[in-house]
Amino acid sequence: MQEATRAITLESLLAEVARLKAEGWRFVTLTASELDAERLELLYHFDRELRLQHLRAAVAKTAEVPSISPVFFAAALVENEVQDLFGLRFTGLLLDFRGRLYLEEESPMPPFCRRGREAEAPRGGGGSEAPGGESCATR
């Protein structure tokens, strides 16, 4: 990629995002892609005056990722999407669909993890336990 990309860890994620926000960077989106059977790659994209900057983190599929939605509410939707499609669990989501943003029970789960099906079991906390109706609330 031609733009600045920095590798970060999950621990430093929130601090980094907060710093970028303070510097005037706009949250563009989050891209998840599958690295291998165990890991996913998360790419956070930010924009300032038409220039992009990316934060890159490799995370285990079973990891609990801190949600950046308290910093950028705009991230809530995309984090839900990743939770749906990759089965990755985000904690502290301001708007949590619990894996039911796009998918129904009969949809294949999680559809984007195709290498190593063992990542299937914990589905964003929504599959097994009955999802409570109240958690899906706008702030």
């Binding site: 031609q2 563009v28 989106t29 992009l52 509410f73 705009a74 708007l95 796009y102 998918l103 706008t138």
Partner: protein, 360 residues
């Protein structure tokens, strides 16, 4: 206590697309809006597994029928960047021409739908009548009315001749004249103003924080337009984003109306600028790019982001599409509480939602 709970959508006459809003209202005042998506989710990003790069162009064109040209444009630009090639100059200008034509078409469509959701049926009919002529231009030059399908990796598939281009210029002039005739009714009509001024206000700070893009952001005073990055041939066309500062539905209406006019002008100037030459690179072998890239273009609804990752095979590893509506939805959720029920369609449409884009 006295709350009414309404399922708004997925099937609802003012929503052209299925999205569900569970509205909690109290005597027409919205207290809470809970969204539900997933009625259009197809999972097309994963089609990269079974489609080669050239076929993917046809797939991404169908992410959204209203801005299909621009999706394909973005995708092709991304692949071309990965391959380290560039489309010929004529193709670049043609892409801009069709993109802007698409933008006009999309804005006219939106203006019509917006008028309709205000209950202004006759205005709706007028906008869509004009829009038909844009579609004729598309069909005549690209072969299709809606999903124009002209982009390929390394250029475009159609090359309009001079007679067509001259006819297009003349037609654009007439369309502009017709459009300007609707300007007073659209922007100044007191009943329209009453329904839009002050409805769904998004301040500049909110718009930035919620990541709003495109006309939604520009109506709140954020002068951001990806076309300013001078991709394709935009660097060679003088162009200034349309910005309003009120941040309400009427500001968004003004932005889109003026943008439609500006885009007509861009089409006209692109035609004038059109260099002679090839429109399509002859690729020796099927493209098999390696590496990753983020490409952005300006869609009618705002910033469109593609993330492409290839590993040297003829199928990409990952395509990720972040559409403008996806970025504007958080703003919508913040704007809805507090508006009256009759303004829910107005505010919802004012971000020009495109759900098929959003959910892919």
């Amino acid at each position: 206590m006295r709350h009414t709970v309404i399922p708004f959508g997925p099937q609802h006459p003012v929503l052209p697309e299925p999205i569900h809003l569970q509205l909690t209202i109290r005597e027409e005042r919205v207290i809470e809006a809970r969204p539900a998506l997933g009625f259009v989710h197809r999972g097309l990003e994963r089609l990269v597994e079974s489609r080669d790069i050239a076929q993917m162009v046809q797939v991404v064109e169908r992410v959204c029928g209203i801005c299909s040209m621009i999706h394909a444009h973005c995708f092709c630009m991304g692949v071309e960047a990965l391959l380290g090639i560039e489309a010929p100059p004529r193709a670049q200008v043609l892409r801009v021409m069709w993109s802007e034509l698409h933008r006009v078409q999309s804005h006219l469509l939106w203006l019509g739908l917006f008028a309709d959701c205000l209950g202004f049926e006759s205005l709706f009919m007028q906008f869509w009548r004009i829009r038909e002529r844009i579609l004729d231009l598309s069909e005549a030059t690209a072969g299709n009315r809606v999903i124009v399908s002209v982009n390929v990796i390394g250029g475009v598939r159609r090359d309009p001749d001079d007679a067509q281009l001259a006819w297009m210029s003349a037609e654009i002039d007439r369309i502009e004249e017709d459009l300007r005739r609707l300007e007073p009714a659209t922007l100044d009509d007191p009943t329209v103003r009453r329904r839009t001024v002050g409805k769904g206000v998004l301040s500049r700070a909110q718009a930035w924080e919620l990541g709003a893009v495109g006309p939604t952001a520009r109506a709140s005073g954020i002068a951001e337009d990806i076309r300013l990055t001078k991709y394709a041939a935009y660097g060679r066309l003088y162009f200034e984003p349309v910005v309003e500062t009120d941040g309400d539905s009427h500001a968004r209406l003004r932005v889109r109306f003026r943008e439609a006019l500006a885009s007509l002008d861009l089409v006209r100037r692109a035609i004038r600028l059109l260099p002679a030459g090839e429109v399509r690179l002859k690729l020796k072998e099927p493209p098999a790019p390696h590496g990753e890239t983020v490409v952005r273009v300006e869609q009618p609804r705002g910033e469109l982001v593609y993330y492409l990752k290839g590993s040297g095979e003829k199928r990409l590893d990952r395509v990720r599409i972040r559409t403008p509506t996806f970025a504007n939805l958080p703003a919508l959720l913040v704007m809805l509480p507090g508006v009256s029920l009759s303004d829910v369609p107005v505010v919802t449409l004012s971000i020009d939602p495109c759900i098929s884009c959003t959910e892919r």
